[in-house]
Amino acid sequence: MSKILVFAEQRDGKLKKVAFENLSLGKKLSTDLGAELVAVLIGNNISGLGEQLGKYGALKVIACQNDALDLYQPEGYAKILADTVTAEDASIVIMGATLMGKDLAPRVAARLDAALATDCISVEVSEGDLKIVRPIYAGKVRATIRLKSDKKLLTVRPNVYPAEENPESTEVIEVAADPCEIKTKVTEVMAGSKDKLDVTEADIIVSGGRGLKDPDNFHLIANLADKLGAAQGASRAAVDAGWRLYEEQVGQTGKTVSPSLYIAVGISGAIQHLAGMSSSKYIVAINKDPEAPIFKIADYGIVGDLFEVVPKMIEML
């Protein structure tokens, strides 16, 4: 039986949501292809995580541990994952399109000389092969592709596939892994400017643009985001003006996001911004200009002064 292998990303012994999402996708594909679903964990002190993966459909969990792997170590992870794919003879490998996945997946692909599709938003079985959709030009268009190697590697965008429970009695296999020579050495993980939610991981995003007029006014965005448990984003105009840090920028030269709810405040909707957020499930636009392009893609719009609308929202939520 062929195998589908899901790399279950964890940091600090905490599994990423995308690991469960990818297991749910893997479960679907394994049913269609008659394949076995296997999860792979890499790190240190991670054996306790296996059970959670079983809840989402993994029949087998391979926990690869080594003292040197407290933090993500690029070559170490790549060697262990590539070796595991080979040992299991897996035909499909699914990873998250996270910062770790985007670093790791091409390394594993190079080691296996396999094709890799990054940042996928749809993966289906069609005539026994995978039909994959990935946005290009930051989402202005989408490419439907297929991979022509025996082993097919994918990174799937977080928040696209729902995490669905499919409890299985899981066998957890612990492996003492050999990370080989680590050349790119990760020495430390530092928290960002605040211990805040990243836009790529958030279910709700509140973004502010030039309409805020002054960097001090971004407390409105922060307060609304707080009320909703949302991450804070920004348009390129706000970042270029030096009002916000680059890590918040959503758009073609920033981050591409797909949250359930995206609230654009004082953002007119330049084409490069729309490219980065138009795949959000619901979009709310608040802008004083009824002709602003953002209203063309918004599900719900309020035409008006954001300095009146946003405080009212904060008050009511």
């Binding site: 094709a115 297929r146 920028q249």
Partner: protein, 250 residues
């Protein structure tokens, strides 16, 4: 210090991308091509490091004849040399592109290889880590802070909600992310000087693509949204819709 910067020419961010008639690619006719914004950061960083460590910057780019304008942009910023990599076929799979780049990079004995974290056209974001494996040297990817000494680098790489600090020996690869620097504008003198630099051409055979594009499409059109109302008076209705219709907040 011998520094290589790999660059790509891409459509500018204001481009309205149009799918070609056969749906296999995009219409290139009216596109304004630019130097990939992330690669601009790589050129700037290379120039800064070359200035501090008395080095030389070579830009490398793979693609059709039109890419010489992007190469000239990098030379106008101050790069010293350029190599235009010409191939028997135009690779669409980053694994094939990386293989072609690796062949040329191996000949150059570079101490540091810089490139943007991704190209803003096909968005694969694969070349940096693949080159790391193919060349057998470390790579710090998506870097927003970089310190280079004679034999090693220290870098900060962006991750969700924070940064990873990376140390590695030279030779090494660094892929650049916004926040690292502010790319300089080319001076008139730089533009004139760049015109005099001979772009070296290298012909490389690339392996076959393992990614096949079946079709390019526009994203599905969203049904027209609704204007809930004007001003703060519309807020109660908006919140009701988000709770009851969209069910995205509780």
């Amino acid at each position: 210090m011998n520094i290589a910067v790999c660059i790509k020419q891409v459509p500018d961010t204001e481009t309205k991308v149009r799918v070609s008639g056969d749906k296999k690619w995009i219409e290139e006719g009216e596109i304004n091509f630019i130097l990939n914004p992330y690669d601009e950061l790589a050129v700037e960083e290379g120039l800064k490091i070359a200035e501090a460590h008395s080095g030389e910057v070579t830009v490398l780019s793979l693609g059709p004849d039109r890419i010489t304008s992007a190469i000239r942009s990098a030379l106008a910023m101050g790069a010293n040399k350029a190599i235009h990599i010409k191939t028997d076929k135009n690779p669409l799979d980053p694994m094939a592109t990386a293989e072609a780049l690796a062949q040329v990079l191996r000949e150059g004995n570079y101490d540091l290889i810089l490139l943007g974290k991704q190209a803003i056209d096909d968005d694969h974001q694969q070349i940096g880590p693949i080159l790391s494996e193919k060349l057998g040297i470390p790579a710090a990817n998506v870097v927003t802070k970089l310190e280079v000494s004679a034999d090693k680098i220290t870098a900060e790489r962006q991750i969700e909600g924070g940064f990873e600090k990376i140390e590695c020996a030279l030779p090494a690869i660094v892929t650049t992310q916004r926040g690292l620097n502010e790319p300089r504008y080319a001076s008139l003198k730089g533009i004139m000087a760049a015109k005099k630099i001979q772009i070296e051409e290298k012909i490389v055979t690339v392996p076959d693509d393992k990614i096949e594009i079946l079709e390019i499409n526009y994203p599905p059109e969203k049904p027209p949204g609704k204007i809930v109302g004007e001003g703060a008076d519309a807020v109660p209705e908006l919140i009701r819709l988000l709770k009851e219709e969209a069910k995205v907040i509780s």
